[in-house]
Symmetry: C2
Subunit: 182 residues, 2 copies
């Protein structure tokens, strides 16, 4: 948390009207926030990227890291806007060179993500970005991978945060930005 900019949390809540809510997806009882309706709106998409990049413009970010697949939609343009390199974290078996893997718990079972061992140099300044902060399991695993590579994590940025799921509790000590909060 960065006390210098608490006002930025939930700053784009007015864009909720551009996010489609779909009940019972991917299964009964889950309300899914569908951001594709927002992505197809050029002005909304551009506003989001501007707000994601703004706090980190002078932070000397060297690598922007994102988890496939939806994370790429924000991570790649963010890397370009910050003149940083882009590092994809992927499912096992997708990255062709030597990787580190991290396994985390889901509601049922586990999931694993991987990063190339040479993706980040020791001491490089890293910004992690994803579309959604829910329980925080995926991003905590991504944090773990970046730390194993020796990256210095300067921030965790999200388009949407589901605050009731308390993902922040898994990410204590990190500067967290979320633009739309439910």
């Amino acid at each position: 948390m960065n006390p210098a900019r608490p006002h930025r949390e939930g700053k784009l809540n007015h864009l909720k009207t551009a996010i489609r809510e779909i009940p019972d997806f991917p299964k009964k009882g889950i309300l899914f926030y569908d951001i594709t309706t927002l992505l197809k709106n050029p002005k909304a998409f551009s506003t989001i990227l501007g707000e994601l990049a703004f706090p980190y413009k002078d932070a000397g970010i060297e690598k922007v890291v994102a988890v496939e697949a939806r994370g790429f939609i924000f991570g790649a343009p963010l890397a370009l806007q910050l003149s940083a390199g882009f590092v994809p974290i992927r499912k096992p078996g997708k990255l062709p060179a030597d990787v580190y893997e991290s396994t985390y718990s889901l509601e049922y079972g586990n999931s694993t993500i991987a990063v190339h061992q040479d993706a980040i140099a020791r001491g490089e300044r890293v910004l992690l970005v994803d579309d959604l902060l829910a329980t925080g399991g995926t991003i905590a695993a991504a944090v773990d991978l970046v730390k194993r590579l020796g990256g210095e994590i300067c921030g965790l940025a999200f388009l949407v945060e589901l605050t009731e799921l308390k993902g922040r509790d898994k990410l204590k000590g990190y500067d967290i930005l979320s633009l739309i909060q439910y």
Copy 2:
């Protein structure tokens, strides 16, 4: 093919030095071109995006469409640079609203991709982008989906083209840009 800019084909071949070649991935006999080494280089990544966007700057593109996951890395920033909306094509079961699906052949078996039925309005000008043009199966299926939505395809843009696989034969009549050719 656009005869006005044949010189742009393979224009970034000098960036081949930034692409890592990995033999026998994902299986024996396949030489895999690993673009992660290029993506982590901010200058190279920025150059690529500039060259992908340049031919379409005044083309009135309204939607940039890309197939998960690597396609998102180029499609999302391209949409932003062209002030267009971004439309993700995904594997079945990932998009929450009503979709159209298209199935295509792989070397062994089939694969299916899906797009939201409301992703593109009839008559909208569309640019399709992907990291790789190989046999052309995936992109031909994506073309099929865009046409079913009534989109007008203005171009197909690729970072890498494996010319020996003759993917262009499946994509006759379309304006094709590829920046790095093997």
